[in-house]
């Protein structure tokens, strides 16, 4: 471990000697006893990790010396040790940024020892956070985290780049499993707000009655059970990015409140009266067609135009088949690394099988299929029999075509699949398949097909 340099600034030789001896018992500490404020300032080039100051130095008081140290080395922690017990002095110094204020007493050296341990733990956590932030930035470097070479994905990269370089709101759309949250994170961690919080809220995962308190926070006593004040997700995202996933699930009442927050850039907690200023970038995502939702009256038009910002549409995996094998290799490499096993390869027939499937669950489904195949494989080679498609063979084009069904059965299968994809929207399905809506209604009524 590197030495931790401590300056003890103390004019009382006796007391200074005591602290010096006590702290020097830790072999990791390099302790220097300094007898005046001026000498301390002259020694700052040695870059101490901590300075302890006696408040009543003869050439300058502790506050003055602290300010001068702060000017020279703004990040060096300072602990004041004083014989006076005035609480106001201690509070003022702590407000100025002093790390700790200790009163000279019988157990001061023990308190100082503990304060240094706490300080080092804090510094170690800070370093860890910085490292993790750097790691996150690398993780969400979208050229590395979002895998694929298809032109469709390259277009998405260009849009992420545009979004990251500005403060515009972003709306991400795409089927389930296409990586909407990954895109939201890529926008955040590649923007100049990357050191600020990224707060993700899944609107579909919060019970309706809790949404308001979750987003807006509340004051103590705002409702039964509100025993303490709590900040909401908007406040948590202040300075950074708020990601509202499944925005299409948002209740109309909450939509109007969200609109007000976005217009006024401030909010009032539930049960509160004071306004809290907000500054965050909003990224929303949905698997629904929001324009359709507006038409149906499920989503406020004014809010839609406010949040749509820069729209990024993620293509489903079936529209970028050229990325399937690239993604497969990526997931297999991850699997080998996580499980500490040798590289797993895929046989040519397995490649064909992987490419022939439509992946309604998109990348999330491909990942599960690949990982399961890796588990089932023998001798580190994935054969076709190791591959099982999770949403059933009904979606596997080859499997369906080879199943020798009647035309009526194929029709039923296709309509059922489309209804599932478009949330039982009969009109939309009829339009997409270019068939009469009555055909579908009739099949539904007779029970020939069932809704999703």
């Amino acid at each position: 471990m590197l030495d931790f340099k401590i300056f003890i600034v103390e004019d009382d030789k006796w007391y200074g000697g005591l602290l010096h001896h006590y702290l020097s018992q830790n072999p990791d500490y390099e302790v220097t006893l300094i007898e005046s404020g001026k000498e301390c300032l002259a020694q700052l080039h040695r870059k101490p990790d901590l300075v302890t100051i006696d408040f009543g130095l003869p050439d300058m008081n502790g506050e003055e010396l602290f300010k001068k140290i702060r000017q020279a080395l703004p990040n060096i922690p300072v602990i004041i040790i004083s014989a006076q017990e005035k609480i106001t002095t201690a509070v003022d110094l702590l407000k100025m940024g002093v790390e700790d204020y200790l009163v000279k007493a019988e157990n001061t050296q023990q308190l100082l020892w503990n304060a240094i341990i706490r300080l080092r733990e804090k510094q170690s956590l800070k370093n860890e956070i910085s490292e993790l932030k750097a790691e996150l930035k690398t993780k969400y470097d979208y050229s590395r985290s979002i895998i694929g070479n298809s032109p469709a994905l390259q277009a998405v990269f260009r849009l992420i780049d545009k979004a990251a370089g500005s403060l515009i709101n972003v709306s991400v759309s795409g089927e389930t499993g296409t990586g909407k949250e990954l895109v939201a994170k890529a926008v955040h961690y590649n923007s100049n707000r990357s050191s600020q919080p990224f707060v993700a809220v899944n609107m579909a995962a919060i019970p309706k009655e809790l949404v308001e308190s979750e987003l807006f926070g509340y004051e103590k006593g705002a409702f039964t059970g509100a025993q303490n004040r709590k900040s909401g997700r908007f406040e948590e995202a202040n300075g950074g990015t708020l990601f509202l996933d499944e925005i299409g699930e948002m209740d109309l009442n909450i939509q109007s409140k969200l609109l007000r927050v976005l217009q006024e850039k401030e909010l009032t907690r539930l049960g509160g009266t004071s306004k809290i200023k907000l500054d965050f970038r909003l990224v929303v995502a949905t698997h629904k067609n929001m324009a359709e939702e507006v038409k149906k009256g499920n989503f406020r038009e004014d809010l839609y135009y406010r949040i749509v910002g820069l729209p990024i549409t993620l293509p489903p995996l079936r529209e970028r088949k050229e990325d399937i094998l690239l993604l497969t290799q990526h997931f297999l490499a991850g699997y080998s690394k996580e499980n500490g096993v040798a590289e797993i390869k895929i046989s040519p027939a397995s490649r064909e099988k992987l490419l022939s499937y439509s992946y309604p669950g998109n990348i999330r489904e491909l990942k599960s299929v690949v990982e399961l195949a890796a588990v089932m494989s023998e001798n580190n080679l994935i054969e076709p029999d190791d591959i099982t498609f999770l949403s059933g063979n009904t979606n596997d084009v080859n499997a369906v075509l080879n199943s020798e069904l009647t035309l009526r059965e194929y029709t039923r299968l296709i309509i059922r699949n489309y209804l599932k994809r478009y949330d039982d929207n009969v009109l939309l399905v009829a339009e997409k398949l270019d068939i009469g809506k009555s055909t579908i209604y009739k099949m539904l009524q007779t029970g020939e097909i069932e809704g999703a």
Binding site: K13, G17, L18, H21, G56, A83
Partner: protein, 118 residues
């Protein structure tokens, strides 16, 4: 030499030093070096009766005197810390400190010899 003494105690030094004689000797020497200065300053102040100057000196000697548990010092220090003017009680307190300091000076010198012999 005793760890426990009627007029002062090295118990605190023993506690934090892991009974290192070198450290204890160093701390006694440092205290004795300051003690002569404290005695001279306090004697001067019994004439000038400057309470602010007295409080500065008390501030300086407080850690060592309290750590060495010098008899009666704790009460006198508390009295002087709280007072705003030089009154009879302060005068008596300072004289008591002076008396004690003068008594312990040769005793501590003697203790030093003990540590020197180790």
């Amino acid at each position: 030499m005793k760890q426990q003494h009627n007029l002062y105690s090295y118990q605190y030094l023993f506690k934090i030093s892991s009974t290192s004689p070198v450290f204890i000797k160093k701390m006694i020497t440092l205290f004795l070096n300051s003690l002569a200065e404290y005695i001279s300053d306090l004697e001067r102040l019994t004439t000038t009766k400057e309470i602010t100057d007295l409080q500065k000196i008390i501030h300086k000697l407080k850690p060592s005197v309290l750590s060495l548990e010098i008899q009666g010092a704790k009460e006198v220090i508390a009295l002087i810390d709280d007072t705003k003017k030089w009154d009879d009680a302060v005068q008596a307190g300072v004289e008591r400190l002076l008396h004690t300091f003068k008594r312990i000076q040769p005793m501590m010198q003697h203790d030093l010899e003990f540590f020197g012999e180790e």
